[in-house]
């Protein structure tokens, strides 16, 4: 009996971080049923766990969030990357609204932005969705005086809004105007649970601090895609892991290297040397004419794009 329990304990240990925290506690009280299930651990190892020790955390976020280290620890073995297919975007703005919903942002605050771009005078305009580029050489992280914004091993650039002093230097340093500031007390459309608040969820917004697109590490930790990716009706966003060389837009999963090769992927303003983790596929073979993006737009709103 004792031996069995020990073996079960080792197995439970192998089952990984998610089950560990709740499982270990349960272990001291519960007796094994003898009925085991096979599970794949985080390291890709097949393990057997007694059914009795299986415990799905009651609150997904609470168990999976990396709260103790203020979100500074990377998701092991990953190197996140995004590919944005400009040929598919029709300015449906679903990514923008989904992101706002996910992060409890008011309507006027956009972490994902869609711009109308035109590269040359004779060229055709196209819609250009823009997330944070999570640069490998991030100018924002370099200038932060208090270590509030940081770069993780898994490629993400995040902000600890409990540490941020709101000097806005990172905003001045980011050449892509990615970051937004809480100029006043943030208005949240709905109340936010204490358990959901963390650096990895980037909520709630904190007055006088900086925030931005975070690639939804809390979703990714659960093996889910960031909300902008799933919300897009046209599969514009591919998200994935550079180490695995795979990205997916929810419908199809493709090899990152092949996709970039086939469709001539590029990074925005490569010459700035910021090494973005977001690649763009040129706006060729478009699924929609650019005019589709103006559908339903008021005349006033159209003024935004007068210069293009």
């Amino acid at each position: 009996m004792k031996k069995e329990a020990r073996r079960a304990a080792i197995k439970a240990f192998l089952a990984g971080g998610a089950l560990l925290s709740t499982g270990w506690l349960a272990l001291s009280k519960k007796k094994p049923s003898g009925d085991t299930v096979k599970l794949l651990s985080q390291d890709g190892e097949l393990v057997e766990v007694d059914r009795e020790y299986l415990k799905v955390p009651t609150h997904m976020h609470a168990g999976l969030l990396n709260k103790s280290t203020t979100g500074r620890e990377a998701i092991p073995g990953k190197k996140f990357v995004m590919v944005i297919d400009l040929g598919r975007c029709r300015n449906a703005l679903k990514c923008v609204t989904a992101c706002q919903k996910m992060h409890y942002l008011p309507e006027e605050k956009e972490w994902v932005k869609i711009k109308l771009m035109k590269d040359t005078e004779k060229g055709a305009p196209y819609w250009f969705p823009k997330t944070c580029f999570h640069c490998d050489n991030p100018p924002c992280v370099k200038v932060c005086p208090v270590d509030a914004t940081f770069k993780r091993e898994d490629g993400l650039v995040l902000i600890d809004n409990q540490q941020c002093i709101g000097c806005k230097f990172c905003m001045a340093a980011c050449p892509y105007s990615t970051r937004v500031f809480n100029w006043e007390d943030p208005k949240e459309p709905q109340p936010i649970s204490e358990e959901y608040s963390s650096t990895e969820t980037s909520v709630p917004s904190v007055h006088g601090t900086v925030e931005k697109c975070d690639f939804c590490p809390d979703m990714v930790r659960q093996g889910k895609l960031p909300d902008c990716v799933t919300a897009c009706p046209n599969g514009v966003f591919y998200f994935g892991d550079e180490n695995e060389d795979a990205v997916t837009n929810g419908d199809e999963t493709v090899r990152l290297s092949q996709l970039l090769k086939d469709k001539a992927g590029y990074r925005y303003m490569e010459e700035l040397g910021t090494e973005p983790r977001v690649y763009y596929l040129p706006a060729s073979n478009r699924m929609f004419p650019v005019e589709r993006g103006f559908k339903g737009m008021s005349d006033e709103e159209k003024q935004k794009f007068e210069d293009i």
Partner: protein, 445 residues
Amino acid sequence: MNFKENINLTLKDLSPVLEHTSKKEKIWMAFLGVIILWGCYALYIQITQGHIVTGMRDNVVWGIFIVNFIFLIGIGYSGSVIAALLYLFKMKWRFPIIRIAMLMTLFATITGPLFILLCIGRLDRLHHLFLYARLQSPITWDVIAVITYLVGSLIFLYVALIRDFAVYGQSKDLKVSDGRKKWYKRLSFGFKNLPSQEKHLKISRDIIAIMIIPIAIMVSSILSWIFGMTLRPGWHSTIFGPYFVLAAIYSGLGVIVILMYILRKIYSLEKYIKKEHFIYMGYGIMIFGAGYGYFTFSEYFTDWYTSKAWEAELIHKLFSWDHYGYWTLFANLGGILLPLLIIGIPKLRTIGSITLVSLIMVVAMWIKRYLIVIPTLENTLIPMQDLREEYVHYSATWVEWVLVAAGFALFGLLFTLAIKFVTIIPVWQTALMNTEEQNKNIEKS
């Protein structure tokens, strides 16, 4: 006349300012106090309602607070450098100017950093700057540099003041309260003009005068690197360090001239601050103005000549009439050409004209800092495509203007209080100089 008599005579001449506070002075200080209180109210609004009450938004993240920060810190850097250079080169005429320059340095260096604090969203987390300091960040460099400079300039001022404190403390003619006299004595550190004391004092002055120059240059450069280290046109420039150093000394010379003029008028210091002082300062303005003008030209010229789109857009913004054209014109005409021209022509070189061009130049230099900060921030790489006007164009709100005014009022108040405590003209050195001159005249005759 011996040295002692000379000291008594000079002190008698200058002491009324220390002894009495006139009605006009009281009104002046009350006026400054009211502006400061108004500033406190604006600050209260900003802290309780957030930075939303300023004109700053996501694109233009820094406004006139940082403009004023550069301006005041620039003045702060120049005072000590000017005083140190005049001291090290043993300029005999320096005494009437040197204390004005040092007091200006101290109070500008105290007032300036307050403006960077106003840019910070979470003042309650200010201690994070030390707790989580990252050495990679130019802001951390700036924190270290400004503190070092503040301490350095305070020592520089103090070392220069010790002998005067001794004079005030020992003087029987000076009619101030006993408590204050005790303070003078305490501050004089028992200086009794012994040869050994004189020797140590000289060594201290030499060391701090030599040290303060590289410190000031470093601090000014670091300030410029807050901008220079970003990937933004108009900021990301290799000449920004020396450019800021020159601009700082240049604008500081202008402020010294203005202060000289005002103090000379109000306290009738014509005997001490003479026309030659204005002319010498005018020469300084010409030298640094020419250097600053050269840097300005080379900065705009290289950006304009090549065709890098992002930079070209900024140049277009700065030089087209429907954007910042008038301001650019004023900043360069009033800030460079006018002082060079007026001071450059001997016939036009009068106390009044030098002061007037200094005033115009100082205003132009403030606007120049505005033109460095705001147009660059309005010129984003990714098109803004924003309908919210306040996000596209910056315009300062009353809260910001009141706080800027309060900053200047604080500078004025500190300066006024300081000249009620120490004489504007150093007593000891002036007396020493007069004695030497009299002895020379006696020898000659």
